[in-house]
Symmetry: C2
Subunit: 161 residues, 2 copies
DNA sequence: TATTGTTATACTCTATAACTATA
DNA sequence: TATAGTTATAGAGTATAACAATA
């Protein structure tokens, strides 16, 4: 590890080196901090969801279908910021695992409504419990009030207020 | 929220459909909200940095080199969570644009210290001003106190406290 | 004509293995 | 032996264009 100042006296034109990285400017940026926080939480999320064979995006899809039976691909895409071509494979995979099923939309022949199978419902129940537990765990670094504040401010930032 | 009740009276075994998507569960999760906030801010960041020819990661690299002259690739990678093989191309590109330069590390023959050129210094000054302005703009949805709180809580979440 | 779901495809980002030169 | 930087490459994630069926 480099040690510039004190020890080496003769330092005429020598290139400096860095002991401890100064990140103070980046740390003033919302984007930088929000991204780091998201990655930290999602890392843990990824581990805890592995036993269910779910990535974060799979969990999001299944959870939305659970709370919105009959939701269409288009609605899922708009909600999660996924592009339609990229959702197709995910839904196919979840359907092959018999976690969800496509059913004809009652009033739009073009669309397919998505529904959980009984197995999918059980999986989502368990996975949501795990997610809530993880949330409490990560939230242990914060007080309950801080957690509420954090969620409120984040929603303000991205406009869901 | 599913609303099977009011509009369609005869609804014997028909599959339900969704009027307005209920995201209330996902919105209780820190990861979901932090990711959405990060993406929203980074989207604007991407637009504003385009005139400088910088992606967010390029900005982060240049800003860190500016505030840490002589920083090594290894230190950059550790700070930004980038893998060494993926940093090489970025540094090469920035070096070819004559924004930064590799110089031999004063005490470790294996390492190269990174330094901004005069042109790089000017670009970073301008880009950081733009970033700060953007921050104030996004922060306009929040009060100054809320912004400080948000940054503090995010740092608590990812452990930089 | 516009929209839903889909295919094919390209591009970017991220991850792994292995090599070199120095320590 | 371990580490810094690099190369090559594989994989995941994200993007656009175009098509068939339906509105």
């Amino acid at each position: 590890m480099p040690r510039p100042s004190a020890p080496s006296p003769r330092n005429g034109t020598a290139a400096p080196c860095v002991e401890e990285v100064d990140t103070s400017f980046l740390e003033t940026l919302i984007g930088y901090n929000a991204r780091r926080a998201a990655l930290a939480v999602i890392d843990v999320f990824l581990e805890r969801m592995a036993p269910y064979g779910l990535r974060p995006v799979d969990f999001s899809v299944l959870s939305l279908v659970a709370h919105n039976p009959g939701i269409t691909s288009r609605q899922l895409c708009a909600t999660l910021g996924i592009l339609p071509p990229n959702l197709v494979g995910m839904v196919n995979a979840l359907e092959q695992r018999e976690l969800l099923a496509r059913k004809p939309h009652p009033r739009d022949g073009r669309a397919m409504g998505l529904h959980l199978t009984p197995g999918g419902q059980k999986l989502v129940r368990d996975a949501e419990k795990t997610a809530a537990a993880l949330e409490a765990e990560v939230g242990a670094r914060l007080t309950a009030a801080e957690l509420q504040t954090l969620l409120r401010l984040l929603k303000k930032v991205y406009g869901s207020d």
